[in-house]
Symmetry: C2
Subunit: 231 residues, 2 copies
């Protein structure tokens, strides 16, 4: 995958995306943002639909060589989808969350999750330029399965018309990371008798299941690699 | 875990939560909702903060014996958190998403994910009743690690004051499920030459890591069970 971690620059150009609490969990460097975006398979696009904020799960991709100096986040969906129709008229946000562990403390209060999470805020741009749309769609496929887009046919005119792609600059974002072990009250540690620790969790893949109508095509290297990475 | 699947009843009492597209992916039964809620470790709470819809990852729990006939969804967080402070004044939503597979088609257009996702909409209630708060906090711990709450000390007054718990009735919800194999264009299947299939994915756990300051307490059964379930 593209080495996202090499791009640098401060996040949170405005106050609203500057975390006000749990500041020990906040990360202000761009490398932390790219790390979360690299690790996640899907994002949640938050938009207001009929007056109610709703988060929709969807695939995404990052373009470090896109039109925005800070990098560009692409999300896509059907032209008919309510989430994407509502989006361009107002500011929206995209949340990406990666779970790393269950933090099981000696008290309910100190139970937590280890996670990495990023929120990107901005006014999305609907892609109209054919070249940018085509590049974004390839990146969306390659985010799910790196190396896959190059071996596919080009989208048809009908497919392009049916797909909305939104671009959000990776300009304003906040990143939170909770890692490490349990953070218990000293008196609970002294009292003893209760187990505490972390159960690491991660998204894993299993053996690719070839479609029944595939004839004489072995599982390609990029698919095997992806399944192994997620293992 | 509580057998959620036994509760029945229609979802989508109003039009806005009735899916308008991808209707083949929509599920209208309550069992499908409980299945998603059972399978997920975290949710995304969508609220409007400073005019922008934002989805925050957080833990949640379901109470089928709670005050709402349709079941109650609890989310919690710090009293100081922006997401929870903003919530009670307006309708919010909670999205729960479980990823099941990468659907790798012969065209970029038909790439997809296998997933189960639920959106619950409502005006949240801030829990003030001590008994309900206490029960909700136990359920939140047990959602992450079933069976754990019973072995923990009760929350202190200070801890209770510092925690906001929101309740959302499981009354208005929409559920979407995409499962099965690749759905390619017939001409792409006929053309051949491109592999297609599904890479199953799931959240898995690994061996519990005991905190360094735990003395003479073995890993409890409920933790081993949880780690194994997520395997």
């Amino acid at each position: 995958m593209t080495s996202l971690a090499t791009t640098t620059g401060a996040l949170s150009p405005t106050d609203r995306s500057t975390p006000r609490r749990s500041s020990e969990r906040a990360r202000s460097d761009r490398a932390a943002l790219y790390d979360v975006l690299d690790a996640a398979l899907v994002c949640h696009l938050a938009v207001v639909v009929d007056g109610v904020p709703v988060a929709f799960p969807t695939v995404f991709a990052v373009d470090v060589e896109g039109p925005d100096e800070s990098g560009t986040l692409y999300v896509h969906g059907s032209v008919a989808s309510r989430s994407l129709r509502a989006a361009p008229e107002a500011e929206v946000s995209v949340t990406v969350t990666v779970l790393d562990g269950l933090v099981l403390a000696r008290s309910g209060f100190h139970h937590s999750m280890n996670y990495r999470s990023a929120v990107v805020i901005g006014r999305p741009r609907v892609l109209t330029d054919e070249a940018e749309r085509s590049r974004a769609l390839d990146l969306l496929v390659d985010h799910v399965a790196p190396g896959r887009a190059a071996g596919l046919r080009r989208p048809t005119r009908k497919e392009l018309v049916a797909t909305t792609v939104l671009a959000l600059p990776l300009y304003e974002a906040s990143v939170k990371v909770r890692d490490g072990g349990v953070d218990d009250e000293p008196e609970d540690v002294r009292a003893g008798g209760v187990w505490a620790g972390v159960v690491p969790v991660r998204m894993t893949g299993s053996d690719p299941v070839t479609a029944a109508d595939v004839v004489d095509v072995p599982v390609p290297e990029h698919v095997l690699r992806r399944a192994a990475e997620l293992r």
